[in-house]
Amino acid sequence: MIQYKPGKEPHPKEHRLIFKNVDRVDWDTSIERFLKEGGYEQLKTALKMEKKAIIEEVKTSGLRGRGGAGFPTGVKWTFIPPNNTKPVYLICNADESEPGTFKDRYIIYQDPHQLLEGMTISCFAVGANTAYIYIREEFPEGAQILEKAIAEAKAKGFLGNNILGSGFTLDIYVHRGAGAYICGEETGLIESLEGKRPYPRIKPPYFPAALGLYMCPTIVNNVESLCHVKHIIQMGGAEYARLGTPRNNGTRILCVSGDVVRPGYYEVQVGKVTMGEVINDLCGGLKQGRKLKAVIPGGSSAKVLRADERFNLKQPDGTMKEIGIEDIPMDFDTIAACGSMAGSGGVIIMDDTRDMAWVLNNLNNFYAHESCGQCTPCREGSLWMKKISDRIVAGEATPEDVAQLETIAYQIDGKTICAFGEASAWPTESFVAKFRDELITHTSTKKRGQIFNPVTKVAAAGLKKQPA
């Protein structure tokens, strides 16, 4: 029986694979502790397998990327050109920068060897001899923990030259970012790792699996995705695929924040719990006397869902079924069918005390700050949306400004180099569509064209607390 710290015990509805060792009483980050619990055994198994067979297992497992896009990991690995003669790289995306997401942090801080083992197996499968962990700068201790873990693994022969006598060589290096959200986007990350500004590259042709780091084939995977690989080797792809629901296999860590009694991380089988269970059971419900107003289900870029929305969904047997927000199973496909995305697993809950103009404004400030500036629609549009929502919050906007906000968002979406364009537009598109009346109540009846005082009142509005 695993003992967890008091108050940190997993909820009965959880299924802990990746977070098995998080908050354990008798756990630490040392390799000795990891080895006592069968650590690096899956690496030993994998090194005896054919590389192709490992990739097949990962494909069979149905694992979909946990970084945001939900792309099948095994399939991504096969995109390395078959006749490739260049070195292959693997990059672990530990930028964890999508607002609302906080799972990779705990893996890195509490179970670094799990990540290293998953990475090493993955590198072996795709034929990478050099790998980088791109970790956000705001995890300084995390970077140190990883560096220590790498040194320990090297000393025991799990990393470095001729790993466990297999002839396979791998070096893993930790590379720290410097506080820019766009470094989470895989091609921006690669530019950053090359020592440049993190300007994302256009796809095609720059799909990392073909033209990535130093124009060589590069596999970029999220921290959590790489950890799952270890468990897929342990369980076998088919057995792993039994977890979760069809096409939405395995477990995933939901990060819940906002207006619930117990915010935090909950590892569940994908699609086996509903939004209602997440809110009411895992998180202990809303705060006393409050009502649910809205949920952002997959990181701040995901479109907001309104509490009273009804969703008409096609069932496997072809019939249609209407469900409410609390009935949505937490998987990739249903949340997409409801018009949003499961994204990075960051669930932000808002109750009826929240002012939606203020919430949108907070997000617009984020995107305006983080746009890399390469594409005109994104660079100008994100700032424009921020300024308009600043004005709405300050009560200095006209009702037409709300419509204008929407127009701008639709001029970004789909017209940019990277998916940040959508990420920045979707909050505005969805908040305006779903909370239009509330936004309009903030506007004033002043005539358009009237000169407001932009410096003193408006400019600071984005940096204000929510009005009481």
């Binding site: 964890e96 920068s97 999508e98 607002p99 609302g100 997401t101 906080f102 990779d104 942090r105 050099t130 956000r136 700068e137 705001e138 995890f139 300084p140 201790e141 290096y173 590379h175 720290r176 970012g177 410097a178 506080g179 820019a180 959200y181 950053s192 790792l193 090359e194 020592g195 440049k196 500004r197 993190p198 130093y214 990060c255 819940v256 924040s257 906002g258 207006d259 915010p263 935090g264 991380y265 701040s300 960051g346 932000i348 808002m350 929240r354 919430v359 907070n362 997000l363 400030n365 984020f366 700050h369 983080e370 940096l463 204000k464 607390k465 929510q466």
Partner: protein, 166 residues
């Protein structure tokens, strides 16, 4: 600008992590310099460029892009308060006001390009940061490399007192 031997050996070591392209070492070198000197000077930029056989502009453009690099001296303890949604809902703007009051910092002159404000005694500096990936324990902040979660008014007071005495 003198680079102590210990720092120099760290720098030389980190460059070996990028056998294909020394340019990749720009960020790690800037981190090492900033950690040692507190911020990145023009001289530091030229030094990194020479070390990695780059044009100073190639280093400069990196320094000016990333919010994590500073070109002016911060306080002895640099505070970063998370500004993003979950923390804001949990009161990070109040936390910011609170910390400013406790440290005597006036943030009224900050803007997008000059986001850091320093206390009169130079002990503390402060700025907003975007989501620090701990939204479940909001509001959160950092004092230099130390991370703090669930920072209530009392906790903020204790933190400033604690760091103030260091």
């Amino acid at each position: 600008m003198t680079i102590p031997t210990e720092l120099l050996s760290k720098i030389d070591d980190v460059i070996t992590h990028y056998p294909v392209s020394k340019r990749s070492a720009v960020l790690p070198l800037l981190h090492l310099l900033q950690h040692h000197f507190g911020y990145i000077t023009d001289e530091g930029i030229t030094w990194v460029a020479a070390k990695l056989e780059l044009e100073p502009m190639q280093v400069m453009e990196v320094v000016t892009f990333y919010p994590g690099f500073r070109q002016a001296a911060p306080g002895k303890f640099h505070i970063r308060v998370c500004r993003t949604l979950s923390c804001a809902m949990a009161g990070s703007f109040e936390l910011m006001d609170n910390l400013c009051q406790l440290t005597g910092i006036d943030r009224s002159h900050t803007d997008h390009h000059h986001s850091i404000a320093v206390s009169p005694d130079g002990k503390f500096s402060i700025e907003f940061a975007e989501c620090l990936a701990s939204c479940g324990t909001a509001p959160v902040c950092m004092f230099n490399d130390d991370f703090f979660e669930g920072v209530s008014a009392d906790k903020a007071k204790a933190l400033v007192a604690d760091y103030g005495s260091k």
